[in-house]
C-alpha cells in the first residue's frame, strides 16, 4: 500500500491465466522447510522491492553503494503490481528471494506462510540506532521480531488550493468541514469549466489489497474506534461495530450515498492507480494519502495547485493511518549476505540515499534511523516537516501484529465495499463484520472466550 501504491491488473491477469489455467498446480509444489544453511550459497543476492516509476532507481543507488562496500552482487526485482501475488508464486515454486522490502502490514501474511526468518535484534548491527517505536510494526503479538523497519509515514490530506480559493472556502478543520468542502467541490464547479465533472473526495474503494478499509481506517480511528480489544493473554475480541465504528462508517457511506454523492463514481472498483490519476487530472479535490505522493503529484499537471495539510480530526480526536515499510529476511539460501544488506539499509548513509538520491522517488519517507532527520534532509520542502509532525502526533498503525492482519483487513474491505455498493445498512454490516472478524481471530488462534 505504501509507495505510490497501485495496481495494474494486466500483468496479474496474465499471471493468473497461467496459474488458474493449469488448475493451480503450477503455483505450488511439494512441501518442506529449507531450514537455515550455515553458509551462504554462491551467486547474487536476490532482492525484491515493491516499487515502481522512479523508486527502483533509488533502491538501485542503495544496492550499488552496498555492492561497492561489500563486493556482494545484487540481482534486483521491482514491481508494484501484485507484488505479494508474485511472492506467493515464488514461495510455491520454492524459489524465494533472499530479501524483500514491502509493507509492514504483510508481516502476519508472510509469517503465516512460513517464508520469513525471525530477526535476532541482538545480532543485527545498527539495531540500536532505530527508533524504538519503529520496531512495533516489525514484531508479532508475542514480541518476537520478524522484520527490520526501513521507512515510516502517515497519511496527510492533499487538497486543491486553487479550488478552495475559487470557491472562497478555507481548509477543513473538522469532519463537518470535510463534508462541506467535498459538497462544494462536487456541486459548485470549482474548476470553472461550466460542467459538473468534479468530485469532493478521492477514495480507492476497491477490495484489492484491502484498499477501502485501509483508507477508511483513518476515519475509524478519528471517531475513536479500534479494530480489536486486548482481552489479555494474547487474546482479542473484535470491536469494529462499536458506536464510534458505526458513526464513522455512516459518515463515510454518506460521502458515497448522500446527496450529492461526493466520491468519484468509479471509486468502488478503483485502486490507487486510478485515484492518483483522478487527483492529478482534476477529477477530485481531496485525497488522503502518504507523503510519497508528493513526487507523484508534483510530476503531473496538478503541481503547485494543491496543498498538503494535517488530516482534520474527527469526533474521537486527531488520528491518521501510519504505515511502515519493512525489510524481510526470507527463507533463502544466502541468509548472511541478506542480513548484511539489511544492516546497510538502516545505516545513516542508506537512509539518506533513500530519502534524497532520487528527488522523484522518496523510498525512505520518514527515516527509522534516529540519527537522520527528514525535515533537514528535505530542507527546501517544508511539507516533510509536516509529514514528520503528523506522523508523530497523529500516526496510528494498523494492528499488523495480529497473526494474519491482511486476512482481517481483506474481510473488512469486502464488507465495506459490499455495503457501500448497495448503500445498505452500515450498522448491520459492521455487526456482521464483527462476527466475521471474531471467526477469523478464532481461526488464527487468538480469539478471546
Amino acid at each position: 500500500m505504501a509507495f505510490t501504491a497501485a495496481r495494474h491488473r494486466v500483468t496479474a491477469a496474465v499471471a493468473a491465466a497461467i496459474c488458474v489455467g493449469s488448475a493451480l498446480a503450477a503455483c505450488s509444489s511439494g512441501s518442506g522447510n529449507g531450514g537455515t544453511p550455515a553458509a551462504d550459497a554462491s551467486g547474487a543476492l536476490k532482492v525484491w522491492a515493491r516499487a515502481a516509476n522512479d523508486s527502483p532507481k533509488a533502491f538501485q543507488a542503495i544496492y550499488d553503494a552496498f555492492t561497492q562496500k561489500t563486493g556482494i552482487k545484487i540481482e534486483p526485482f521491482f514491481t508494484l503490481t501484485d507484488f505479494e501475488t508474485k511472492l506467493t508464486a515464488a514461495a510455491a515454486a520454492h524459489d524465494l528471494p533472499d530479501l524483500v522490502v514491502d509493507d509492514a502490514a504483510q508481516l502476519g501474511n508472510f509469517k503465516t506462510q512460513g517464508i520469513i526468518r525471525a530477526v535476532d535484534k541482538s545480532k543485527l548491527a545498527g539495531a540500536d540506532q532505530l527508533a524504538p517505536g519503529s520496531w512495533a510494526s516489525a514484531s508479532d503479538l508475542s514480541g518476537k521480531t520478524y522484520a527490520i523497519p526501513f521507512s515510516a509515514q502517515a497519511n496527510l490530506l492533499f487538497i486543491r488550493k486553487d479550488w478552495l480559493t475559487r470557491l472562497g472556502l478555507s481548509e477543513p478543520k473538522t469532519w463537518d468541514d470535510v463534508t462541506a468542502v467535498a459538497k462544494a467541490f462536487t456541486t459548485q464547479d470549482p474548476d470553472g469549466n461550466g460542467k459538473a465533472d468534479t468530485y469532493g473526495l478521492d477514495v480507492p474503494g476497491s477490495t484489492t489489497r484491502g484498499y477501502i478499509s485501509w483508507y477508511w481506517s483513518t476515519f475509524f480511528w478519528q471517531a475513536g474506534g479500534e479494530y480489536f480489544k486486548d482481552a489479555g493473554n494474547g487474546k482479542f475480541t473484535a470491536t469494529v461495530n462499536s458506536p464510534p465504528g458505526k458513526q464513522s462508517l455512516k459518515w463515510f457511506e454518506g460521502m458515497y450515498c448522500g446527496s450529492p454523492k461526493v466520491v468519484q463514481p468509479s471509486s468502488l472498483n478503483d485502486t490507487t492507480t486510478e485515484t492518483n490519476k483522478a487527483f492529478q487530472t482534476g477529477v477530485t479535490g481531496m485525497y488522503f494519502t502518504g507523503p510519497y505522493a508528493y513526487a507523484t503529484m508534483d510530476g503531473s499537471a496538478v503541481k503547485g495547485k494543491y496543498e498538503v495539510i494535517a488530516p482534520p480530526p474527527g469526533p474521537g480526536g486527531a488520528k491518521t493511518l501510519a504505515e511502515g515499510t519493512n525489510i524481510y529476511l526470507m527463507q533463502g539460501q544466502r541468509p548472511n549476505a541478506a542480513q548484511k544488506l539489511a544492516e546497510f539499509m538502516i545505516t545513516q548513509e542508506a537512509q539518506n540515499l533513500g530519502m534524497t538520491k532520487v528527488p522523484s522517488a522518496t523510498i525512505v519517507r520518514l527515516p527509522v534511523n534516529t540519527s537522520v532527520d527528514a525535515a533537514s534532509a528535505h530542507k527546501s520542502d517544508d511539507r516533510w516537516t509536516l509529514a514528520q509532525q503528523v506522523y508523530k502526533d497523529q500516526g496510528h498503525y494498523e494492528p499488523v501484529n495480529m497473526p494474519n492482519w491482511t486476512a482481517l483487513r481483506q474481510a473488512s474491505s469486502d464488507a465495506l465495499n459490499a455495503v457501500i455498493a448497495k448503500c445498505g445498512d452500515s450498522d448491520a454490516a459492521l455487526d456482521q463484520l464483527n462476527d466475521k472478524l471474531n471467526t477469523l481471530l478464532k481461526q488464527q488462534g487468538v480469539a478471546a472466550g
Binding site: 488458474v20 493451480l24 512460513g114 476497491s206 463514481p265 471509486s267 527463507q331 455498493a421
Partner: protein
C-alpha cells in the same frame, strides 16, 4: 463435420497397407506405428508438461492445506465439502452461468444479424466485414482496458459524455452492483459477436441456393425464407457454437479481472476470479485447487454430454 470425415481417411490407408504387406519386418512395422506419435510428440510433451501434469497435480493439491514452506496438511475431502457451504462461491457460480448464457446468446444473435447484413461477395462488404471483425482479434486484456476507460461512470467518461449529449445518464456502468455484470456482458458481446458472425457467414455460404429459389417460386417472402431455409440449415453450427461458448464461458476471467476485479460488492465475481482470489489474497491454494478440480469435472462432463448428444443425433 464433413471435414472430420475426410481427414480421417488418410489415416486409415496406411493401416490397410500394413495388413496386406506382411513381408515388412517387425522394426519396419514398429517404425510405421511410431511415426505418427513422433510427429505428435512436441505437442504432447508441451501439453503434458503445461496442462496435463499441472491439472493432475492440482487435483492432488486439492486434498491438502497447502503451505510450501511449512509442509502441506492432509485434509481429505474437506476442501470439497467446504465448497457446498460457501455463499461466495455459490454467488460466483450463479454470476458465471448467467454471464455465460447471456453473453453467448447475445453474441450469437448479434453475430447472426451481422452475418445476414454482411454476407455477399461485394468489395465494400469485404471491407466492412474486416472492420467489424477487428474486435475479435484484439486481446481481451486490451479490449477490457479500453472499455474500462470509455465506461467511466462520471459525466466526462466517453460513453457517458455521448449519452449526456442526448440527455441521458450519467450511467454508473461498472460502478454499480446493479449494472456491473450486464456491462461486462455488453463488452463480451462486442468482442465475441464478430467471431460468431464469421462462423455464420461460412454457414450461410454453404446453404444450397436452389432452396432459396424454390422458396421464391413457391411465393415465400424474405421472413419465411429465413425461418424455413436459413435457420434450419444453420442449426448444426448454431448448436455447436452455443455449447462450446457456454463451456468456454465457465472459465471467464480476463475481462472481469481487468474491468472490475470482481467488484463492486462481489457483484461480478466469477468462478475463476474467486479461485484467483483464494490463491493470491487468502493463500488458500488447496481450496482454490478444489474449486478448480470441480470446474474441470463440470467442463469434462459438459463436453462429454455434448459429444454424446452430437453422435446420437448424427446416428439418428
Amino acid at each position: 463435420m464433413s471435414a472430420l470425415r475426410t481427414s480421417a481417411a488418410p489415416v486409415a490407408l496406411p493401416a490397410q497397407r500394413d495388413r496386406s504387406g506382411s513381408r515388412r519386418t517387425v522394426p519396419q512395422r514398429l517404425g510405421r506405428s511410431l511415426t505418427p506419435w513422433l510427429f505428435l510428440a512436441p505437442a504432447l510433451i508441451f501439453f503434458g508438461v503445461f496442462k496435463f501434469w499441472p491439472s493432475i497435480w492440482g487435483v492432488y493439491l486439492s486434498l491438502f492445506h497447502v503451505q510450501p514452506y511449512l509442509g502441506d496438511q492432509w485434509l481429505g475431502a474437506a476442501n470439497f465439502t467446504r465448497t457446498l457451504d460457501d455463499p461466495d462461491l455459490q454467488a460466483a457460480v450463479w454470476h458465471t452461468v448467467l454471464d455465460a448464457f447471456v453473453q453467448v446468446a447475445g453474441s450469437m444473435l448479434v453475430g447472426f444479424v451481422l452475418a445476414l447484413l454482411l454476407e455477399g461477395p461485394a468489395r465494400h462488404l469485404r471491407i466492412l466485414r474486416t472492420a467489424v471483425f477487428l474486435p475479435a482479434v484484439i486481446a481481451m486484456v486490451a479490449v477490457a482496458e479500453l472499455w474500462h476507460a470509455l465506461l467511466f461512470p462520471g459525466r466526462y467518461g466517453a460513453v457517458n459524455s455521448l449519452l449526456g449529449d442526448v440527455g441521458l445518464g450519467p450511467l454508473p456502468f461498472l460502478a454499480s452492483p446493479n449494472s456491473s455484470l450486464w456491462t461486462i456482458m455488453l463488452v463480451q458481446i462486442w468482442k465475441h459477436a464478430p467471431y460468431d458472425m464469421v462462423i455464420f457467414i461460412a454457414g450461410l455460404v454453404g446453404i444450397d441456393r436452389e432452396l432459396y429459389e424454390q422458396c421464391s417460386i413457391d411465393g415465400a417472402n424474405a421472413w419465411q425464407r429465413l425461418w424455413n431455409v436459413t435457420l434450419p440449415a444453420l442449426r448444426p453450427i448454431t448448436t455447436i457454437v452455443l455449447i462450446l461458448g457456454l463451456i468456454r464461458g465457465l472459465r471467464v476471467f480476463t475481462e472481469i479481472y481487468v474491468l472490475t476485479g470482481g467488484g463492486p460488492g462481489g457483484s461480478t465475481e466469477s468462478i475463476v476470479t474467486y479461485v484467483y482470489r483464494n490463491v493470491v489474497v487468502n493463500n488458500d491454494i488447496g481450496y482454490a485447487a478444489a474449486i478448480s478440480a470441480l470446474l474441470l469435472a463440470a467442463t469434462i462432463l459438459l463436453t462429454a454430454v455434448t459429444l454424446w448428444w452430437r453422435r446420437h443425433r448424427e446416428n439418428a
